[in-house]
Symmetry: C2
């Protein structure tokens, strides 16, 4: 077993990072489906078989990129989040961080929130990284509704048991009426971001920043983060 600080170990970390960086560059240029081990190796001045010392297959490289993308997005969102601020402000900040990251990294965004890559299914290793933004949103809703004074959205009878299960599974301490609204708002947030990143707003929305800000403000209302009727 090699020493954690041997030259070999350091080199391994560096080369692994270089491979991922180059792969990310190709992702940005060509998209996930055209990501090729051979092209990555070529660009790094290595022979393609050398990459197999670092990633056992192309899919493993893809998985590493996916986890990195989720983590990078999660970090942006967490950095934008000030948990001493007003819940509504926190909500807006997280949403804008997601949008900003997506616009800066459109292909990495497509990798994690676009069409699934055919023939590839993400292993469970990706789950913790994928959950980071969701956990932030859950935390905001929890904090907001711990105090008094905020109206809650309505919860139809048909969704009550669904909401109970969700609360137990991943959103304890969030009022039942809020849980399903929160999941819906989460999906809707990505609808707004995807339409902008994937070009569906072309020749349609011009002041995207203002449009987005207003739309996620309305989403916050739907989750009961504003005074007044939800």
């Amino acid at each position: 077993m090699s020493t954690a600080h041997g030259a070999r170990a350091r080199a391994r970390i560096e080369v692994t990072a270089a491979i991922k960086d180059e792969a990310r560059r190709q992702l940005a240029a060509e998209g996930a489906a055209r990501l090729s081990l051979r092209a990555v190796a070529r660009e790094l001045g290595m022979v393609s078989s050398a990459l197999y010392r670092y990633f056992p297959s192309r899919d493993d490289l893809l998985t590493a990129l996916i986890i990195d993308a989720y983590d990078s997005l999660g970090e942006s969102a967490e950095a934008a989040h000030d948990d001493t601020a007003d819940p509504f402000e926190r909500w807006i900040a997280v949403c804008e961080a997601v949008r900003g990251w997506a616009l800066e990294h459109p292909h990495e965004y497509a990798l994690i929130y676009g069409s699934p890559v055919p023939g590839y299914t993400a292993p469970d290793t990706t789950v913790p990284a994928a959950a980071r933004v969701g956990l932030l949103l859950i935390g905001i809703a929890r904090d907001a509704h711990q105090g008094p004074g905020l109206a809650r959205p309505s919860l139809p009878d048909g969704l009550r048991s669904e909401a109970e299960r969700m609360a137990v599974d991943f959103a304890p301490d969030v009022p039942l009426e809020v849980v399903t609204a929160l999941v819906a708002a989460w999906a809707q947030l990505y609808g707004l971001v995807s339409f902008e990143v994937f070009g569906q707003f072309n020749r349609m929305v011009e002041d995207r920043e203002a449009f987005f800000r207003h739309a996620v403000g309305q989403l916050a209302r739907g989750v009961g983060l504003m005074p007044g009727p939800a």
Copy 2:
């Protein structure tokens, strides 16, 4: 020029349809990025070069599939839409038709609303087909707000000029306060559908039908399709 009803003309229509059908089948099996002219030809018992009599290139075949997908989705939505019904009911019906179509045709859905295919940009020919669902939603909002009695969403000052431009461009006769809310709801609808189709709701939402119905009901409120405060 050939007679519209000659055997040759009929054969051409049939073969063109057969090519598209087989291409759709491969789309469903492999995704757009792996759609291959050679594989389509092989499956049809033709030689690959023969396809060039029907589509000048792979991208043209893709374009045809994209237009067909938009049209198929648009038809489903239009068929589900009863323009004598209550606006709220019409809204729900169209949203559910979109969801239903997407779940039945996940790869065609990914083709039009997933990550863009790298190296491919859709020509303007796709625009009319792509607009069909949007036009339905615009029509519903227009009809609903022509009568009195429905409260309108708020429109912040910063979005007024944006809303005016949108109204002129594609939504005349829709109140300004409703236009931006409508565009946002449109994007959010696809956020809900995409998350379900692309598997983001796995181990999260179980009663998807009920969840969706409630969520798009809330969207309808945001566009002011329900009595009471928007």
